[in-house]
Amino acid sequence: MRQWFAHGLRGRRSGIVLLLVLLALWEFSARLEWLPAMSWPRMSAVAATLGQLIASGELLSELGASLWRMALGYALGVLLGVIVGVLMGSFRAIYNLLEPITEILRPIPSPAYVPIAILFLGIDDEMKIFMIAFSAFFPVLLNTYSGVRAVDPVLLQTAKTFGVRGARLVRQVVLPAAAPYIFTGMRVSLAVALIVMVISEMVAASNGIGYFVLAAQRGFKVREMFAGVITLAAVGYGLNWLFLLIEQRVLAWHHGYSAQHRD
């Protein structure tokens, strides 16, 4: 993915050609009715519907509702993951206390929690934000913990000899040193959070892009459904792109540092 980024459009010419070929195949297969037209509309028709949905503002308002919940849940999950990860990495007692429970909760697929979450939090925003935060939490927690454990003790002692300890030590040394790990966790969490956002909206919601896709399918509005899925693909791609952009800036030192230490 990072290579894609570095090479820009030039390096992926063949990949883009394949994409265009597949889109053309979609168009022709629909025109020639290889699949029932009821469930396989033409690409051009879907594109037109997508254009209308964007122009009417309907799609953007659904998307806005979804992204707002996702941003809130993701931020909450990442924040808590970093805090608990730093605590577990810094204090043996806290690690011993929390490690067993995280090991039990972590492998359960997040969607399995949705029914429980509905029971306690209802079907409104609270439930969805909780679910997104909950699923974003674990990858960040585990990676932060590993990152904190991997901080070079010489770096910590250097700060100590300058009289830096406690919260300042965490802020000035532990967090920057563990940042490459934390970002790895955040990247995994981003993908998971998107999935959980869609699922929670499909299970119980009255708005949001996940709800939109499911409602379109139930209402036999197949073109709308496909337009929704395409929107989700674009959102996923865009979020990942934004994430990499931020990561490249924040971790510029790390990319230079590891390039230097690779040979």
């Binding site: 070079d152 010489v154 770096l155 002692q157 250097t158 700060a159 100590k160 000899t161 300058f162 009289g163 830096v164 300042r168 000035q172 040394v173 920057p176 040193a177 940042a179 030192w253 790390h254 230079g256 540092y257 230097q260 230490h261």
Partner: protein, 268 residues
């Protein structure tokens, strides 16, 4: 505690435990260091020089015995002491450029305005001859340059006590002479107390008011020499002084005998 005692080590022992394997590095070190002294510690590789310095810095607990500074037991790094790591590469913050690394020590002390910090940082960077590299990151510098960044970061703070672990090991001979001069100037003008670990006997005598030679591990003080040569020292003439040669002879004789190296040395 005697009147002159500033740093006092009494019966300092250290046994390391590496995955159940016990290594006694220090067998029991007693030292009394007066304020303003420049003490070098020499000894064979692995004898416990770094261990001893880290215990003095409050970075590593001793297994037995006590270090006192101003009569106060040292249990964690004291504010007045700064330790310069032998592992200089790992001791620099890779996410900070040279300027920010050097300023880090000053910033962490507090009580200085941003303008003061910037000024002192620039001055110290100039002293270690790193002007023009302020915006470089440590991993973009050579080993010797990184070592100078680490030295500058400590010197900028002008602490009462400077503990330096082989700080000039990776710089070329000429730069080394320059840095030695810089350290001696600061030591004299600021009245610092310096404890300096080196395995270079010549460097130890040239810089110090006192040289302590540790024996092979488990280490004890093998030889404790007061260097009665006038300061300021001269990069060429001091090394030709008869007393200098005598100190050198005695220290080398001690270290070689300890290593079992045969030589023409006569014990004096």
């Amino acid at each position: 505690m005697s009147a002159a005692a500033y740093i006092e080590l009494s019966g300092v022992k250290k046994t390391w435990n590496a995955q159940g394997r016990l290594t006694t590095a220090l067998a029991g070190i007693d030292l009394v260091i007066e304020k303003g002294a420049f003490v070098s510690i020499v000894g064979p590789s692995g004898c416990g020089k770094s261990t001893l310095l880290q215990i003095m810095a409050g970075l590593v607990p001793s297994s037995d015995g006590l270090v006192r500074l101003h009569g106060q037991p040292v249990r964690e790094p004291p504010r007045d002491m700064i330790y310069v790591f032998q592992q200089y590469t790992r001791s620099l913050f890779p996410w900070k450029n040279v300027q920010r690394n050097v300023a880090y020590g000053l910033e962490s002390r507090g009580g200085l305005s941003a303008a003061d910090i910037a000024e002192r940082t620039a001055q110290t960077i100039a002293k270690v001859k790193l002007q023009g590299f302020e915006n470089h990151y440590p991993w973009q510098l050579s080993g010797g340059m990184q070592q100078r960044v680490a030295i500058a970061r400590a010197l900028a703070c002008a602490p009462d006590v400077l503990l330096m672990d082989e700080p000039f090991s990776s710089v070329d001979a000429l730069t080394r002479v320059g840095l030695q001069q810089l350290l001696l100037d600061l030591w004299q003008s600021l009245g610092l107390t310096v404890i300096f670990v080196t395995h270079d006997v010549d460097e130890a005598i040239y810089l110090s008011t006192r040289v302590v030679a540790l024996s092979r591990p488990p280490a004890h003080v093998g030889l404790d020499l007061t260097i009665a040569l006038d300061h300021p020292r001269d990069a060429i003439l001091t090394r030709e002084h008869v007393h200098y040669l005598d100190y050198r002879h005695r220290l080398l004789a001690q270290l070689f005998a300890d290593e079992g190296i045969a030589s023409g040395a006569v014990h004096s």
